[in-house]
């Protein structure tokens, strides 16, 4: 791969998006092309900028959870968890253990759902039609469970400050175990169809390489960073909830190419499923919500809490002035930071690679633009 010009020609500017099948929403990138080769890429975002951070300043703490649902709309429960942990840290609340187990089970299930969706949509970026159907089938199964537990398919508003909204249904344990088995089979099916497929390997290996130093400098986190060989996982390095009591592996790659990022996510699915069954083994009966005032009113102060989202390291910086509304709430959106890495990865590749690289970053525009 080289960015050297092969012929003395005029560059072509190709505008991809905001409506383009491969941009995963309303992302727009302007490619500077020399034939099929990408000389430069200029990302443009903001086509879904809803001003969530500003809106959070006008809502009470309990209402902010609903906005967090809609920021990363593929991993809703992980987002709720991120905010609730920040508010709880500020209020020095200790969440009951059962609530933490429920939170972790749901968050890990949501991680699997998100990764299943990633594998599917990534395959469709590369031109394979079938894995996306399988991915959504698994996601649908997980969503059915969410619906049974939280009452909603996507916007759950289930994890609240101080615990969870209510206890899980009686048949939760057996249902989740059955679900784990089904989802594992489904993921394995996608694995068999895609992982060592020759065309897939040719399209992803050695494409979009980013080394660890650059990845850290541009702020990549999550599977995108682990694909480059940095074993940084908030669950491991800054354990929260009941993650210290679970055994798992943090899969990492070495080459930092698209295939590594994909493979890390695939392995994370399996790890998450095993974590869920450990949680089910350990979970005991108990309260699921602390006794606290209905309207949360954290003390004046600031707190920064981060946790591991499917897309990376989500952080919530909460500035409270002692009232029932946050004074300032800043989200560290992992997709936003990962997207900064798009330009260094893409330069010198082909148009088709640009699509593959963008897909391998697994961005969610709701989170990029907020």
């Amino acid at each position: 791969m080289t960015t050297e010009r092969q012929h003395d020609t005029i560059d072509m500017m190709l505008n991809m998006g905001p409506q383009h099948p491969a941009t995963h929403g309303v992302f727009r990138m302007v490619l500077t092309l020399d034939g099929e080769r990408v000389l430069d890429v200029t990302p443009h975002i903001g086509y879904l900028h809803r001003g969530s951070e500003k809106l959070c300043e006008g809502e009470s703490y309990g209402q902010v959870v609903t906005l967090f649902d809609r920021i990363d709309y593929i991993a809703n429960l992980n987002n709720e968890l991120a905010f609730c942990r920040a508010a709880e840290r500020l209020m020095s609340i200790e969440v009951p253990e059962r609530a933490m187990y429920i939170r972790v089970i749901l968050a890990e299930l949501n991680r699997v759902a998100s990764h299943a969706l990633f594998i599917g949509t990534y395959a469709i970026d590369l031109g394979a039609m079938t894995p996306v159907m399988y991915g959504f089938r698994e996601r649908e199964r997980i969503q059915n469970l969410f619906e049974a537990v939280t009452g909603a398919r996507m916007m759950h508003n289930f994890i609240r400050i101080g615990g969870v909204k209510e206890d899980v249904p009686d048949d939760f344990g057996p249902r989740v175990r059955q679900l784990i088995g089904q989802v594992r089979e489904g993921i394995e099916e996608m694995d068999r169809l895609l992982t060592f497929n020759e065309v897939y390997l040719a399209r992803t290996r050695g494409v979009g390489v980013i080394d660890a130093a650059t990845a850290i400098s541009v702020g990549l986190t999550g599977p995108s960073l682990r694909g480059s060989g940095v074993a940084y996982d908030v669950r491991k390095d800054d354990p929260y909830e009941i993650y210290p009591y679970l055994s798992y592996k943090v899969p990492i790659g070495e080459n930092g190419d698209c295939w590594d990022r994909y493979y890390v996510r695939l392995q994370e699915c399996y790890e998450s499923l095993s974590m869920i069954s450990q949680c089910l083994d350990q979970m005991e009966a108990g309260p699921t919500m602390v006794q606290m005032r209905r309207i949360a009113r954290p003390p004046k102060g600031e707190v920064y809490v981060h946790s591991e989202n499917p897309r990376g390291d989500i952080g919530v910086y909460l500035v409270s002035d002692g009232t029932d509304k946050p004074y300032r709430l800043k989200i560290r959106p992992p997709s936003f930071c990962n997207l900064v890495g798009l330009a260094p990865m893409t330069r010198g590749s082909y148009i088709a690679d640009a699509v593959a690289i963008l897909g391998s970053l697994d961005i969610v525009l709701g989170e990029v633009d907020r």
Binding site: A22, S247, I252, V290
Partner: protein, 393 residues
């Protein structure tokens, strides 16, 4: 030879019938593709329109014909509207010489194979024109891609057709079928059959070679600006071409309407021919459901470095067999011997290192071990304050 009025009428009638047959076949492919893909993907495909969704392509057709036909203001209008015809007419003309059965053809041209080769190249002009005249960047990218792709994959197709022509000793489809009475050429020359199928996939722009109209890259390529009836013509031409590859495969390599039953009534022969054709088409759809898309440079290197040498090898092997009069099974053996190494290399070249890497990643994954869990405290944690009253109102 003077052209009689009756001749003109007959030919027109034949052509009209052929047009309808081909159009119906193409529509049936649309339905078959949606149903087959649906089944392979755990869905059901169209069910609402007609029994089993059979009328779905008809509904699509009606809608497309009645839709507004837009030419972008900046397009080159004449070329923009001529391009679909340039794609459609050759792909339809080829059918003139295709025998559906022993006596079922419009004209049995002595140079039928040559006629096919000559016409199938013409479609490229239409695609490039469509890309250029749309004045859209996606369209022009798609047009260039189609030119590069189709021209390179034309060569292996021609070489494999030459192999068949050598074996049969004729350039007429009719004679080629008759020559396969005992053993079909797919068994005689598996190498040529394999090359033909792969190059045929690329020739009609099917996955994994659907680069020039890749949806996630160039959004439909040369067709991106077309709407309504003109787009429908492209769509139809694409499916006619797919059907064409199936039909060619059936005629050249699977013995058309004869093998393995010999002389049967015309209707049975046609059924046999259609069965073979649809089988090949189903394989094409199957591949579509399975494989991702290749990249343009990989596609070109696969064409020039793998398929073209292989097709030449098939040609040379056949020539040797005919020159020295080796037994026919020798040819099968030789072509299989040539076919095996590239398949093996192609499979192992990517897969083995990737599997080794996956094993390596499983080893270097960082294991996190569970800490002992403290004895759970049953007491409810009191936090922040006792339940207040002032906020709850």
């Amino acid at each position: 030879m003077s052209l009689e009025l009756m001749d003109v009428v007959w030919v027109s009638l034949w052509l009209f019938t052929l047009l309808n047959v081909v159009a119906v076949a193409a529509l049936s492919l649309v339905w078959l593709e949606r149903k087959l893909l649906g089944r392979m993907q755990g869905r059901v495909g169209p069910t609402r329109v007609g029994p089993f969704g059979l009328l779905q392509p008809i509904a699509d057709g009606i809608k497309l014909l009645m839709k507004e036909d837009i030419a972008p203001g900046s397009s080159s209008r004449v070329l923009f509207f001529v391009a679909p015809l340039l794609v459609f007419v050759p792909s339809y003309m080829v059918w003139i010489t295709i025998p559906f059965g022993r006596d079922l053809f419009v004209r049995n041209l002595d140079l039928g194979l040559f006629f096919f080769v000559a016409l199938s190249v013409l479609g490229i002009v239409g695609l490039v024109l469509a890309g250029w005249s749309s004045n859209s960047k996606y369209a022009i990218l798609g047009g260039f891609r189609s030119a590069a792709q189709l021209v390179s994959y034309e060569i292996p197709i021609i070489m494999t057709i030459l192999v068949v022509a050598m074996l049969a000793g004729s350039l007429s489809f009719h004679d080629v079928v008759l020559a396969q009475d005992v053993v079909p050429y797919a068994a005689v020359q598996p190498l040529a059959f394999g090359v033909f199928l792969l190059a045929g996939l690329a020739e009609v722009g099917r996955t994994p070679f659907d680069i020039y109209h890749a949806e996630s890259e160039v959004v439909g390529g040369p067709f991106v600006e077309y709407s309504g009836a003109h787009w429908a013509i492209f769509f139809l031409a694409e499916y006619i071409n797919t059907f064409m590859v199936g039909a060619l495969g059936a005629l050249l390599f699977l013995g058309g309407w004869r093998w393995p039953v010999g002389d049967v009534p015309a209707a049975a022969g046609v059924a046999l021919f259609l069965f073979k054709t649809y089988a090949i088409v189903a394989v094409i759809f199957w591949v579509r459901a399975t494989y991702p898309r290749m990249r343009i440079d990989q596609l070109m290197s696969f064409g020039w470095k793998v398929l073209i040498p292989l097709s030449f090898a098939a040609f040379v092997v056949t020539a040797f067999q005919m020159f020295y009069g080796w037994p026919i099974w020798m040819l099968t053996l030789l072509s299989l011997v040539i076919l095996v190494p590239p398949i093996y290399i192609q499979l192992r070249w990517q897969r083995t290192p990737a599997m080794a890497l996956a094993k390596h990643y499983a080893e270097i994954a960082v294991a996190v071990h569970a800490q002992p869990r403290p004895v759970p405290v049953a007491a409810v944690t009191e936090a922040h304050a006792a339940p207040g009253t002032e906020d709850d109102a």
